[in-house]
Structure formats: structure tokens, C-alpha cells
């Protein structure tokens, strides 16, 4: 057994921490949260310069040849700094989809540009009901000669407002099993008939509505097998769930750190509030939640990285971390009192992300169901 990070991961963690505290201060986070695009081109370029976009992808596409676990170490730090922008959508959602299902040409054309930071991509999967089940994919791609015609509407598509290309899950065959007959296509956002509208959300992350109105897709832009998209999506959702956990673990860690240092400073009744056992117990509950979430997340990521069956581990991690980050953020708010309820304070930035993270890629109930099924129930 080796339950520590390896040397490279330690270095990555350290350099990411240094880089982000300098290049992604809360002032920038707020600007991006409050603004429409959520993207800082400058920060994006610098992150690309560090090779972050290609971290888990093979060197022949310009990547670093790292693993999902390496990426998790980075996302933990990004979550700590709540870095806004389309990194997650581009690297985790789109990058892994291309990696798993894309043809060699598609990888050269798209994945390589993701690695170099030249291209922003996302995955358009969920629709009106927002669930991650195959039956909710109702967007249709109809074959017409050597083209497909795409019609439908996607909701909660992350960062589509700044994406160059979308990977779209669409129905190409309808039958008894909703998981059969879904295919994935690459769609240029600038194509005629694509309309992207950012949604106003509690998380202030840039989730979008994307409407396709008779959008023409050349057959060559099919990713993977025709009607064989769902197994790919399932694999991506697994990675996305554990990757989101890593961000949430980082966010929870930051919430804990902020609250503990405030509890040491803030004096009421002639002593630091951290001297009250009520507050000490809150802090103890928080650190337990942070550590528990981190362990279970890293175990899940390692399992997936090793190519082992990981449904159980990932669903445990997502079910747990979704609620743990929320608990930690609520307790941190409680420790801050009124000052934390102000827009100028940083705490709500984390509280919002805890909610967004909880919902993304399956909430706790959704994943507990998978855990139960994995237990053979």
C-alpha cells in the first residue's frame, strides 16, 4: 500500500497552489462569477502554458501522459481556489469523451487542440428534466444522406457560451431500451441553427440552454459507434463525478481553513469564538468530513485510473462528498455569522459551489441508488 501522493503529484499540487493563489485571486473569481462569460482568456492561456489541459492525455496529442489521478490532484487545488471557467467541461467532459471514443483524426483535430489550450469544448447531455439517465435524451439526430439533422434542446450544458465545439448526445434510434440508440456528435457552435443561452443559476457557473434547430452535421463528426454512445457517456459520467468530487474536496478544505482561522481570530465574550466547545465541535465535524471525502474521492479516482471496476467507489464518493461539502459550507457560514452573509465575503462563493457540485453528475440520492445496486440489492 501507498496512500500518499507521488513526487510528481506533490510537485503539481504545490505549483498549482502557488500559481492559483497568484493568478486566480478572489477578485478575479468574483468578476468571472458575476460576468456573463466566466472565462478569462489570460488565465486560460497561462494554465495551458503549464500543460494543465493536457495533463491526463497521451503525449502524442500534446498531452502530459498523466493519469486521471494526476488530474484529480489538480482539480482539488482548483476547487480550493474555486477557479471559474471551462476547464472542467473541456478537459473532463470533452477531453475524455474524445480520448475514449474519438477516431485518430478526431483526436488529432480536437483533443490536440484541447491539450494546447486552443480549443474550448463541452458536453451537451442533459435536457429539460436535468437527469443523467438515457431516457431523458430526446434530442434527435436523423440520418439524411451522409449527414445528420439535429433537433432538440439541451439544458444545463456547462460553458457552452464560450465553447468552440460541443459534443452532443442525441438519439439516432428509438427502441425499447433507452440506452440503445444514443450517439455522440461533434457540433460547431457556430453552425446554423445552434442557439446558446446562458442560464442564471445559484452557482453562477455558466450553465447554458442549447437549442438545435435543424442543425446539419456531417457524418464524419460522429464520435464512436453509431447508437453506441451511452456506454461512453456512462464512462464519462463516472469520471466527471469523481472529478467533481475532487473540486468539492478542495472547496470544502478551503471552507474549513477559512472558518478555523476566523474562529481563532474572532473574539466574543472575551475569548476567541473557537474557544467555545460548540464551535470546536463544528470544526471537528468539518475536518472529519473533509478528510473522509478526500480519502474516498482519491480511492475512487485511483480505482478508475487503474482501470478497475469503479462504479461502487465513485458512487460512494459522489454521494458522500455531495453532502459533506454542503455540511462543511453550512457550518463555515455558521461560524462566520453575519459577516459571511455578505456579498463581499468569500464564503458564499463556496456555499454556491457546494450546491452546484452536489447536483452535477448525479446527486447523493442518485449515487446511493447505484451503491445499493452495487451491493447486490
Amino acid at each position: 500500500m501507498d496512500l500518499g501522493l507521488n513526487e510528481e503529484q506533490e510537485m503539481l499540487k504545490k505549483s498549482a497552489k502557488e500559481f492559483l493563489s497568484k493568478e486566480c485571486p478572489k477578485k478575479l473569481v468574483r468578476e468571472l462569477d458575476e460576468g456573463d462569460s466566466g472565462l478569462s482568456r489570460d488565465l486560460w492561456k497561462k494554465m495551458a502554458g503549464l500543460g494543465w489541459m493536457g495533463l491526463p492525455f497521451p503525449e502524442k496529442f500534446g498531452g502530459n501522459g498523466g493519469t486521471l489521478l494526476d488530474l484529480i490532484v489538480l482539480l482539488d487545488e482548483m476547487g480550493y481556489n474555486i477557479v471559474p471557467g471551462p476547464f472542467f467541461a473541456t478537459v473532463v467532459l470533452a477531453g475524455f469523451t474524445l480520448m475514449e471514443a474519438g477516431s485518430e483524426e478526431q483526436k488529432q483535430a480536437y483533443l490536440a487542440k484541447i491539450c494546447s489550450g486552443e480549443m474550448i469544448m463541452t458536453l451537451a447531455l442533459t435536457e429539460l428534466d436535468g437527469t443523467y439517465l438515457p431516457e431523458s435524451v430526446e434530442t434527435v439526430a436523423e440520418a439524411k444522406g451522409d449527414q445528420y439533422i439535429l433537433n432538440g434542446a439541451k439544458l444545463f450544458v456547462p460553458d457552452a457560451n464560450v465553447a468552440d465545439f460541443l459534443l452532443v448526445a442525441a438519439r439516432t434510434k428509438s427502441g425499447a431500451d433507452p440506452a440503445e440508440g444514443i450517439s455522440i456528435f461533434i457540433v460547431d457552435v457556430k453552425s446554423r441553427g445552434v442557439k446558446v443561452t446562458p442560464l442564471k443559476t445559484l452557482g453562477r457557473d455558466k450553465l447554458c440552454e442549447v437549442v438545435f434547430d435543424n442543425v446539419t452535421i456531417p457524418s464524419k463528426d460522429l464520435v464512436g459507434k453509431l447508437n453506441g454512445g451511452w456506454p461512453v457517456i456512462k464512462s464519462i459520467l463516472r469520471k466527471a463525478a469523481v472529478a467533481k468530487c475532487a473540486e468539492m474536496v478542495g472547496g470544502a478544505q478551503a471552507s474549513l481553513d477559512m472558518a478555523v482561522s476566523y474562529a481563532k481570530e474572532r473574539v466574543q465574550f472575551g475569548r476567541p469564538i473557537g474557544a467555545f466547545q460548540a464551535i470546536q465541535h463544528y470544526c471537528a465535524n468539518m475536518v472529519t468530513d473533509v478528510d473522509g471525502s478526500r480519502f474516498i474521492t482519491y480511492k475512487a479516482a485511483w480505482t478508475e485510473s487503474e482501470g478497475l471496476p469503479s462504479d461502487l467507489e465513485i458512487s460512494m464518493a459522489k454521494a458522500w462528498t455531495s453532502e459533506a461539502f454542503k455540511r462543511v459550507a453550512v457550518l463555515a457560514h455558521q461560524i462566520f455569522g453575519a459577516i459571511g452573509f455578505t456579498m463581499d465575503h468569500d464564503m458564499h462563493l463556496y456555499f454556491r459551489r457546494a450546491k452546484a457540485g452536489e447536483i452535477a453528475y448525479g446527486d447523493a440520492d442518485f449515487h446511493r441508488e447505484i451503491v445499493a445496486a452495487q451491493l447486490g440489492l
Binding site: 460548540a278 453550512v330 453575519a338
Partner: protein, 398 residues
């Protein structure tokens, strides 16, 4: 025991309901994003709306805003249970009307104020158009109000007030501050603090807005620079203000928008009855049902506590322990209702008001953020627990 409302109470309930349905301001309840238990999204803390003023005056004419006060002070001579019914229904229908002046300052003045103070302020409060804000907290005095540093020095018939208050909700739209300041710096705070009324228009007061996490300007930081306050505005005896403050805080903890909980819960029930997920109505999903059943039970407990406190007051028992219980229970419920609602609504729940697809107009998303304030404002949950353990159960501090 009889858990039913009696005939008179039922009749009064019907009368109030009729009034509300008739007088409801068009669109107000839809626009106001107030979340039960929260303090950060109350329309009346943000802007002063002439239509709301008029409505309050109408309620004032009926004696409803102060209905449980003695008749000699312009009260309605009604019971506290009837008053509880009135506020339950107001909050159920999202109608404005609850205010610091009628619910906190007025009752404190009636209890401790001189006849002179009463005759000057009570009639104006009864009319319903006088708004107070609470000037208690300071940057270094939140839970620990004994640490306040604002001071008021006697100068002839006046007090000269200096210092800084913070978190004054709705201070910018109020008429008067209901303020505590040190009047004897040499004495311990509980023997050297006074409670008084300060006119917002007094020279020397400046306010700085503070925006809360929902994006509302509800808070204010308020600076006092040699502000003159007539000594006759002091409530009760000089230097005894800390005791009055504790009582005023008990009154504040009893201000609960009970009907608001039931209303939002009904919204959620209806949503689950009308929304299908994975081919099934949400109301048929076992996990959703368990969450709703749990909420229903907690709301029932809160309702019982709410009417219990009113009933106690009608029977000359002051519910100061129960005030902390109901504050603790309802503010936690505020969070649980928002949280469970958000969980049930899933992905859509994060859509903000104004979004086309936002369920229940995005109210739960606002409530989700606002419920952070519920367990902090008017005395944090930890302070309520301290009160319950120490004052209520006699557990020692050391």
C-alpha cells in the same frame, strides 16, 4: 386540552382571510422573495413602498397590527392567539405587515416605558406607519451585545450619541432606530447601557449599504457622529437598558412567519404532484415522500410551538424559554425546507428567479441562500442553545 380553534378564533380567522384576499396588493406576493425564517430577502427591508404603507395604515385602522395590546393604548384588546392567527395568515399570503415597531419596540415600550414615552410613541406605532430598525449589533458586538462601544453622553436634556452600528436591516427605509448604547462607561455593561429611540433624520447619522449574498441591500452600517437624541426618548430608566434589551430580544424571537412555512411547503407538494421524473410523478417516489413527510412533521411541531407561545401569553406566562425554542426550531426548519426542496427539484432547483425554466419562480434558490441568515440573525442558534441549556435547564456555565 382542545387543539381546535374556538368559534371566536375561527370567525376571526375567516375575517382576516377575507380582508387579505380583498386587500392583497396585486403582484406583491409574487414579487416579494421573502423566505420563511430568513432575514435577507424581505421586500420591506429594501424599499419603502407607498402601497405597502397604505395597506399597513388600513390594518392599523382596524387595530390589527397591535391587536393584543390593551385597548387604552390603542390596541385591539384581542388575544395573543388571535394575533398569532393574523400573522400566520399574513405570512401565508405573502402580505407585508410585520414590523419592528409593532412587534418588538411597541411591546417593550408598553412594558417599561414611562407614560410620557408611551403617549408620544404608542399612538404613532398603532397607526402602522412608523418604521423602526434595530440598532444593536456592532462590528465587535454580535452575539456578545455587552461588548457594544457606541456611547451616549448626557448633555442637558439630550444625549450625544457617537459610535457605529452594523447589520441594521432596513435602516435606510426606516424612520427611527431602536438603539442601545453605553451611558455609563465606568459601570459594567448591564448597569451602564441605555435603550432609546433615535430619529433617522437627526444630523450626524450616515449610512453605508451592505449587500447580502442574495444581492439585496438589506443591511446597513450606520455611523453616529455627535447625534443629539432627546433624553425623553430613553426607554425606562437610564442605564437599565441591557435588561430591557433582553426582553426586546425575546419579543423578536417570537416574530415568526409561520404561515410562510406552510405556504412554501404547499408549493413544494404541488410541484411534486405535477412533476414527472423518469416517467413517474415525484410524489410517488419513496425518497421524495419521506422528505415531504419529515418536513410536514417539523412544520407541525413548529406550529404547535407557535400557538403554544401565544397561548402562554394569553395566560400571563411569558415564554422566554419557548422563545428560544421556537427561534431555534423555525430557523433550522427554514434551512431544511429550502434544502429538501432543492434536493427534490434537482437540477432545475439551481435556476434563479427570472429564468424561464425555474421551478416555483426560483423562490427556493433564493431561500436556499437566505436560510443561511435565519440561523444567525436575531441571535444565532448557538446562543439559543446556550439560553435553553443555561436559562432553561439550569446548566452551569463553568
Amino acid at each position: 386540552m382542545d387543539f381546535h380553534f374556538n368559534e371566536a378564533e375561527k370567525k376571526f380567522r375567516a375575517e382576516v382571510e377575507e380582508f387579505i384576499l380583498e386587500e392583497m396588493l396585486p403582484g406583491y406576493a409574487d414579487k416579494d422573495l421573502y423566505w420563511p425564517g430568513g432575514y435577507g430577502a424581505i421586500g420591506e427591508f429594501e424599499v419603502r413602498d407607498p402601497a405597502v404603507e397604505k395597506l399597513r395604515e388600513k390594518m392599523g385602522e382596524r387595530g390589527w397590527l397591535t391587536m393584543a395590546w390593551p385597548k387604552e393604548y390603542g390596541g385591539g384588546g384581542r388575544s395573543f392567539v388571535e394575533q398569532a392567527i393574523f400573522f400566520e395568515l399574513l405570512s401565508y399570503y405573502g402580505m407585508p405587515g410585520m414590523d419592528v415597531s409593532t412587534l418588538i419596540s411597541g411591546p417593550t415600550i408598553l412594558r417599561f416605558g414611562s407614560e410620557e414615552l408611551k403617549s408620544e410613541w404608542i399612538p404613532r406605532i398603532v397607526k402602522g406607519n412608523l418604521k423602526f430598525w434595530l440598532a444593536y449589533s456592532e462590528p465587535n458586538a454580535g452575539s456578545d451585545l455587552a461588548a457594544i462601544q457606541a456611547r451616549a453622553d448626557i448633555d442637558g436634556d439630550d444625549l450625544i450619541v457617537n459610535g457605529q452600528k452594523i447589520w441594521g436591516s432596513g435602516a435606510h427605509v426606516a424612520d427611527c432606530g431602536w438603539m442601545v448604547a453605553r451611558t455609563d462607561m465606568a459601570a459594567p455593561p448591564y448597569k451602564g447601557t441605555s435603550l432609546f429611540i433615535v430619529d433617522n433624520k437627526s444630523p450626524g447619522i450616515t449610512m453605508r449599504p451592505i449587500v447580502n449574498i442574495n444581492g439585496f441591500h438589506s443591511f446597513n452600517e450606520v455611523f453616529f457622529d455627535n447625534v443629539r437624541v432627546p433624553k425623553k426618548n430613553v426607554v425606562g430608566d437610564m442605564n437599565m437598558g441591557f435588561y430591557y434589551l433582553m426582553v426586546a430580544l425575546d419579543f423578536e424571537r417570537l416574530v415568526i412567519s409561520m404561515g410562510g412555512f406552510r405556504r412554501r411547503f404547499e408549493d413544494l407538494l404541488n410541484y411534486t404532484r405535477n412533476t414527472r421524473r423518469n416517467g413517474k410523478l415525484l410524489s410517488e417516489d419513496a425518497r421524495v415522500r419521506a422528505k415531504l413527510a419529515q418536513l410536514a412533521t417539523e412544520i407541525e411541531i413548529a406550529f404547535l410551538l407557535y400557538y403554544k407561545t401565544a397561548w402562554m401569553m394569553d395566560n400571563n406566562l411569558f415564554p422566554n424559554i419557548e422563545a428560544s425554542e421556537i427561534k431555534l426550531v423555525t430557523t433550522l426548519l427554514s434551512r431544511k425546507l429550502a434544502d429538501a426542496g432543492m434536493e427534490i427539484m434537482g437540477q432545475q432547483a439551481q435556476l434563479w428567479p427570472g429564468s424561464r425554466h425555474a421551478p416555483l419562480s426560483g423562490r427556493f434558490a433564493v431561500g436556499y441562500l437566505d436560510s443561511i441568515s435565519a440561523v444567525i440573525g436575531a441571535g444565532t442558534s448557538e446562543i439559543q442553545r446556550n439560553i435553553l441549556a443555561q436559562r432553561g435547564l439550569g446548566l452551569k456555565r463553568k
